[in-house]
């Protein structure tokens, strides 16, 4: 906000006439920036606050003692982080193993109920999470999957599959069919043409879909809670426990840890995902 306030008059000074529109524009942009970055600033402040209570607007004491506590061998942050990353990786592998053939089929073959199938993948998202996962937990108890990593991965895959399939479909649709046919016509089998032409060209889209699934898995709480806890410790569960216990410092540090992959993801998407792939999502 402050940077806006200083730069706009500067441009006004350079121009012969002052554009009066900078005032409402600056206000709106400033407000927007505050809405986006306000809570984040609060979060960052909490991570370095030693003492902070009402009615003080800013922490009374700053320090890194809570970081030490989170990363100490006794704190289970590192274990949770490792678990989370492990589960997310397995989820990505499982989801892509399903999404690559499904996405290709949906993109290429003239399936009669194409859009219906695409919408069907949304169904896990269409119902309230809580009752669905409570029932899954009950089912998994019977199967002995509760509290195991495969159980949590399974829950995360059902959740992430919609992104994986939709984005993979878009990625494969963006690969011109004639490129495959060109390979076929000079002697490549269908599988070979897929491996040498379609897959490398769809790779950026598939990469994005993998990252989406990875982040979804990293973030997922409800399913992890009902199926995983307390045997499988994941970062969101740690965040929940810390937050529920009123320990905002530990909750904020955990939240910050979760934020790192998200920001990395945005950078990667921006770099890899072309607009023509994104425009085909859902088509």
């Amino acid at each position: 906000m402050t940077s806006l306030a200083t730069t706009t008059p500067a441009t006004g000074r350079r121009l012969p006439r002052i554009d009066l529109w900078w005032l409402p524009r600056g206000l709106v942009l400033g407000l927007l920036a505050f809405i986006i970055f306000g809570p984040l600033t609060n979060l960052v402040l909490w991570t370095v606050a030693e003492r902070w209570y009402f009615p003080h607007a800013l922490p009374l004491e700053y320090g890194f003692s809570y970081w030490q506590r989170v990363f100490s061998p006794r704190g289970n942050a590192m274990e949770s982080l490792a678990n989370s990353v492990f589960v997310a990786t397995l989820t990505v592998i499982a989801a892509l193993a399903l999404a690559v053939p499904a996405g290709y089929a949906l993109a290429r073959l003239k399936l009669p109920l194409r859009s219906l199938i695409l919408i069907a993948f949304l169904i896990p998202q269409a119902f309230p999470n809580l009752p669905v996962y409570v029932n899954i937990a009950r089912l998994f108890y019977g199967l002995g999957l509760n509290g195991t990593i495969p159980g949590v991965v399974l829950v995360h895959v059902t959740h992430g599959l919609v992104y994986a399939v939709w984005i993979a479909t878009a990625a494969f649709s963006a690969v011109d069919r004639e490129l495959e046919e060109a390979a076929r016509s000079i002697g490549a089998s269908a599988l070979r043409a897929f491996r040498d032409v379609t897959l490398p060209l769809a790779a950026p889209g598939l990469m994005a879909s993998a990252i989406f699934v990875f982040l979804e898995s990293l973030d997922e709480f409800t399913g992890s809670f009902f199926v995983g806890a307390p045997d499988v410790n994941l970062l969101p569960l740690l965040l929940y426990t810390a937050g529920a216990g009123g320990n905002y410092q530990i909750a904020s540090i955990t939240a910050l840890l979760l934020l790192v992959p998200s920001i990395a993801f945005m950078l990667v998407v921006e770099r890899f995902l072309k607009a023509d792939v994104l425009s085909r999502v859902g088509h």
Binding site: D176, E181, A182, I186
Partner: protein, 383 residues
Amino acid sequence: MTLAPFLEVKKASVAYGATTVLDGIDLAIAKGEFVALLGSSGCGKTTLLRTIAGFVMPSAGTVSVAGRDVTRLPPDKRGMALVFQSYALWPHMTVAQNIGYGLKLRHQPAEAIARRVAEMEALLGLTGLARRKPAELSGGQRQRVALGRALAIDPEILLLDEPLSNLDARIRLSVRHEIRALQRRLGITAIHVTHDREEAMVMADRIVILDSGRIAQAGTPEEVYNRPVSSFVAAFMGAENSIGLVGTVAGDRFAITAGPTNEPCAVPLSGRPLADGPVVARFRAEAAKLVPAGDAAHVPEGTLVLPGRIESASYPGGHWRHAVAVGPDTVLADAPQAFAPDAAVKVCVPPEALFLFNPPGAEPAAAEFAGHKTDKASELAGA
């Protein structure tokens, strides 16, 4: 053709849902022949090419190569190579990788591939571009890479799907001759799809004109140009002027009775399968001669004379093109010098440049003839 056909399409039909795209196509192509499939968009020429290539499964009929039925074979097992209109170069591979891909599929050693790629690059004037990606090439270069990729595998049959339509007009003219010369030199059987009449005439040994999924006529460029078997072919080959006439067969001549648009005349039949009654006359603007109305001195025997009035004149280059009002119709006719608007003129069409057809439907015999015109054409080709 005296030789046994190398590539043979028999009674091939293709339908997408309820629409019939190809309707009983019969086509026999000799080894080393260059055939152009010519037609306007939507006539089924690309579908026929894709059927031959194996990307479209015919609902009826067969495709065979050297006597072997390949109808059910996948595209990669047919020994053909297709050059796409879009070129379909793989953007993630370099020029060398694009050209060498077919050889890599055949498990050739790396040195052999490199040698062949270099050979292709030299042949097509792509030397020095081996490391470029397709996005860094011009349209003409991309077209040549696409051609090189197809030729690198030494295909028995080269299929070309309008490969020149995305090129600049000037490059297109030279590439035409390059492809033709290359095909002759390598002795490849080639099928070229195009909607450009001149391109087909210049490149092909034989032209196959398609009209809504059927073969309208097949023959040498000279045949289809000078002896069109139907009004459609005549119009497609540039005889755009069309006049309705009435006449009767009298011995070896067709006597055209005087009408609101024409003076009477007797045109030699010279093999034209005509019946008494109304006919459609077609002729090219450049085949017609314009003379002033008063000048009746030198009109040779058998010439159709259409009295008219000049509507407008333009200069497309080389000659003046006039729009002439003839009765209710307007025809185009060329003359070495411009006529003034509203001048009374006579359009003279020599008998060898006049194409006469009984209109379909009006004459049952003519309609029956239309079904056999391909047979007729192949007879002509064999003669």
